[in-house]
Amino acid sequence: MLWGVCLLAALTAVPLLAILGEVLLRGYDQLSWSFFTEPTPTAYKAMKAIEAGEPIPGGIANGIVGTMIMLGMAVVVAVPVGILCGAFLAENSKNRFAQIVSYLTDLLQGTPSVIVGIITYIWVVVPMKGYSAIAGSVALCIMMLPLIIRSTEETLKILPASLKEAGLALGGNKARVMMKVQLPAAFGGIFTGVLLAISRVIGETAPLMFTALGCSLIRFSIDKPISAVPLLIWEFFNDPNLQELIWGASLFLLLFVLTLNLTAKYLAKKWNQ
């Protein structure tokens, strides 16, 4: 039985290695300076290059810029709101309203991302009469919120009670004890939670399809359609002329996400000691 368990457990590493291997082998030679600085070529340009036997020109800069803009806006809203809401849950765990909020956090966390896309389409795209970076960032924000709330709540709850009591015993009010004692002590856990939340949503495709839509230009305006790295992968997947770019984009996304994951895990371990 031991050998059976070891064998089957070891087999789960196969897909990870297979995926990493495939993306690396097929994607590494596409990565170049211009891949990160130039926007996606049009299908026509790509077709011409293929016919001439040349590598496809251009890169994924429009996607990287779009991802960063939307992620940035989502983080700016989701982090403070998530931390405050997490603090509320940690401070009032027995209160009836907090239990409802806690339940709804689970509900939102379990909601499929494609539905978050639909919702954001109804809430933002329809009233604004168009796809936009704002809509995309709202979708990402909704998906990040429950993750940040949970990690904040859990980190605050495992702090020794003596810390909070010591702060209050010095005459501090609850707000100051939270700001000066509890949140600083919980910083490691909250930071890790934010990193994981970012790595969770950065690869999301479905919710961006109905909100940010995509765009072949490098754009900095937030009220117009915008691209994102996963959206580009989806575009390349569907356009035979652009298929060559798929692996470079995937490699970039995969390395980004896995690095964030490993960093978060490493920091969590370091701060726990």
Partner: protein
């Protein structure tokens, strides 16, 4: 009766966690200024509960009720703002709990930061030095004031916590088994320190260590099952306890 006005006075103080049971039952006692009063008793007797009532720690938990009166300089604490009470009554806990994200320097000043009181650099430096000197920590840490308080040894951490409480110039200092997590040498240092400190501040200390009570306190309380069984001069209580239960406890017949 002496006419010394007590600094702290319990008047029929009761604490209850549930409607049916009382953890502290009708405690009445007057504490004189600049004394060390030890509160003893077997575990679960309500000694920590009584101590925590004094700086309104029980207010943090909705289901705990405190009844009766606790007077600080004649004023009933129970009807005062918790924050005002806690500024005047410091507390040191069982486990040393310096704030882990603050330096030694900031730990001493944390009471001011937590109360939103701004100090000038000179005032800060003076306060830090005064407080660390009065807990005999200054010489040991004066060169590492910017290090985190958590780098210190257990005994040093506890002295840092006492310094932190003293910085607010409290009238009364509550100590909840402050040496139970420390080794004998660190314990001895703290005890010597407390004997010094009683000149500045009135100390109320919960201890399960009878030797400690005998060594440092001038008055002692013995509590049992939530009641204050006996309160008087430590000397008298140890040599000639008036209650059978006190006697049983002091002679080790009750745990």
């Amino acid at each position: 009766m002496e006419s010394v006005k007590p600094i702290l006075e319990f008047k029929k103080t009761c604490v209850s966690y549930t409607k049916q049971t009382m953890a502290v039952k009708y405690v009445s006692a007057a504490i004189e200024q600049n004394t060390i009063t030890a509160i003893m008793g077997p575990s679960g007797c309500g000694k920590s509960t009584l101590l925590r009532a004094v700086n309104l720690m029980h207010n943090l938990y909705q289901n705990i009720r405190v009844d009766g009166e606790i007077l600080l300089n004649g004023e009933n604490i129970l009807s005062m703002e918790p924050i005002d009470v806690r500024r005047r009554i410091g507390m040191v806990f069982q486990r040393p709990a310096p704030f882990p994200t603050m330096s030694i320097y900031d730990n001493v000043l944390s009471g001011f930061a937590l109360n939103g009181i701004k100090l000038s650099k000179a005032e800060k430096d003076a306060t830090v030095e005064r407080c660390l000197r009065s807990v005999a920590l200054w010489d040991e840490v004066k060169d590492v004031l910017n290090k985190k308080g958590t780098f210190l040894s257990g005994g040093q951490q506890q002295r840092l916590c006492i310094a932190r409480a003293l910085a607010m110039k409290p009238d009364v200092l509550l100590m909840d088994e402050p040496t139970s997590a420390l080794d004998p040498i660190a314990t001895k240092h703290i005890e010597e320190l407390l004997l010094e400190l009683q000149k500045e501040v009135t100390i109320l200390i919960v201890t399960h260590n009878m030797g400690q009570a005998k060594r440092i306190s001038s008055k002692s309380m013995f509590m049992y099952l939530g009641e204050l069984v006996e309160y008087g001069d430590t000397e008298t209580m140890f040599t000639n306890p008036s209650d059978e239960r006190t006697k049983a406890y002091l002679t080790g017949k009750m745990g």
